[in-house]
Amino acid sequence: MKSPGKVLLAGAAVVATVGALAGCSSGSGGGGGDSKIHLVVAPVLPGATADALKALAERVKEFEKANPDIDVKAIEYQWTGTTFAAELAGGTLPDVFNVPFTDSKALANNGQLADITADFKKTSTADKWNKNVLNVATGDNGKIYGIPWGPYAMALSYNREIFQKAGLDPDKPPTTLDEIRQDAKTIAEKVPGVAGYMQMTKDNTGGWNLTTLTQSLGGRMERVGSDGKVTVTADNAQTKQGLEWLKSMRWEDDSMGSNFLFDWSGINQAFASGQVAMYMSGSDVIGSLMQANGFDQTKYGVTTYPLASGSDAGILSGGNVDVVNVKDSPEQIAAAVKWIDFYRTQPTVDKDAAVKNAQTLKAGNQAVNAPTLPVFDKATWQQNQEWIKPYANIPAANIAPFNTGIFSQQIVPEPPRHTQDLYNALDGVVQAVLTDRNADVDALLKGVDAKVQALIDADGK
């Protein structure tokens, strides 16, 4: 009864299925049938404009011309805590990708990043690095696992147009928390429907922003003892002071709008669409506002986030580290370091590279002079600013309050241990203060201390 056709059909189905499954398991690897080294790099955000992509293609071509044995494929990629973990687990990460300062050291110590020490030492800038900056990419074993770029300090971004509508002077942004509160109140009263001031609250960003506030007031969320033991100290006077400040704006002044569940992209969107007048952001956020939200940079203003007096008060900083896939071959790692040096480092130290990069960004209507911190030293940074000045597309006056103020601010790094877990636990505290008039701040902060301390202590076992 068995027809040969039926068997043939079934056989074909099996072959097709097995083939499809085999396709699933084949990794990216070194790939290709030629002798070239293949490299997948991820230097642009998803949704980058066609101009930006074209400009990137130009730079890839330039790199390949200088390195004929390397074949570069550039893909769009955005680091997010959630997708990163999944991609790392699934083995679908590109060869070169970036992680924030908070994670690079821990990933390196976990053995999840490639050791690039030997190839890093061959770069022309290897000895120029500030040890403190390079530290975020250095493992506990002293080896180098990445190359830092684009460091930023937390700042106060504001909408100059809304300032004018509220009768405030956009060239005189607030310089203390009291002034932020006052201006926020004025804006909420004069420009209905706009939140005077807002912070992020969701997906770990609430804790990130609250930690910034605490550190700006001189407090710390974690303390490292002389024996190296880390104690979680979220329940401190400065955090309470910061929360009290938020509470008064929310419940007394009603100047924080009506949406209290914002993550990073959500608040950027709200700011770009004119729903939020002032918010706490990274100093370089205009880059994303222009690229992802089409925000008109002439409306943008940024100033330093106010610091309390006292030597403990400091501004939280962060940045990116370009790292290499731990599964890469030594040849791929060497090529990857060459690419990172070409794409990230050279434009900060080499005039030709800097000018070319600035021209590229300007042509794609991307931020050329987004305020960042020096990667090497202030002199190199200033020199670089001079090189790109002719192509700058953000009005200098709009970012002057930040650029002039930042060098007198003390930079404080993020809490060292279980940073994302700490931030996640703090999210709830900020949300509670903004949505519940009677939130028990003491109990909430004690809860955070207990929860995160348990995670840290469990590591030691």
Partner: protein
Amino acid sequence: MTTAASRTPRRTPLTWVRRGGLSTLVFLLPMLIVFGVFSWTPIVESVVMSFQHTNLVTTPEFVGWANFAAVLADPTFWIAVRNTAYFAVLALIFGYPLPLIAAVLLSETRRMRGVYSVLAYLPVIILPVVAVLLWKVFYDASPNGVFNTILGWFGIPPQPWIQDATTAMPSLVLQATWAGAGATVIIYLAALRSVPPELYDAAEVDGASIWQKVWHVTLPQLRGILFITLILQITATAQVFLQPFLFTGGGPNNATTTILLLIYQYAFQNSLGGAYGKATALSLMLAVFLAVLSIVYFRITRRWSTE
């Protein structure tokens, strides 16, 4: 035994092949492979992982019941259990009777039944993510928000909706009920058609009112379907993820953190991806709980059904 053996011819591999066993197997093979690779392998692997500490890159380490203990010791776990139960109860109170009422009313209507059915089913067709994002706009807590504007017409002050710990969960249930009711309405409508019309005729002859007809004819006839949809709804609400994930991210202050959202947070919230073991442990606990619940439920309802 011997009589049975003499009656049926001896089975050999050859007869099995002759009777089409081989081609059956060959036809079945793609499905078996796909099912094994994409369903059973992950299930088995996740059970194994729930007893491990792993970051999925370095060699995993077996830790016994440590992940389960860590989940049970996490204060957020109990909040998530409470929230999930709260969601399930609210969904049961509002979401369970509503489709039934709608279906009974629909079956009673004589005109434009098709139009009403389409309207009832429409929310199911809208992509869930799109629907939630739409409702997020409706839930705008400012006085200009869609729902708050509507409330304003009746002199009701603006509500915080998802921006407040007390109103967030009911708001999520409201959307979930809207989104899910249509599918259940269709099931009930189909079931209602299967109720023999003679029963209604007989009831009418006996002088039964509409309410008596529903109570004494419709509901008993639908009993089997009602039992099934109830357990389906309980297992679905125990796994609610989309609404809290997209609306609130579990906020404000964990007021909408459900078990599935907590599993997701264990696995993916921390970019260092430390807690895959805890995530799979909690998944396993939930699966076992739901399995036991279903078995108990079917035992009980079977007894009711036969009484």
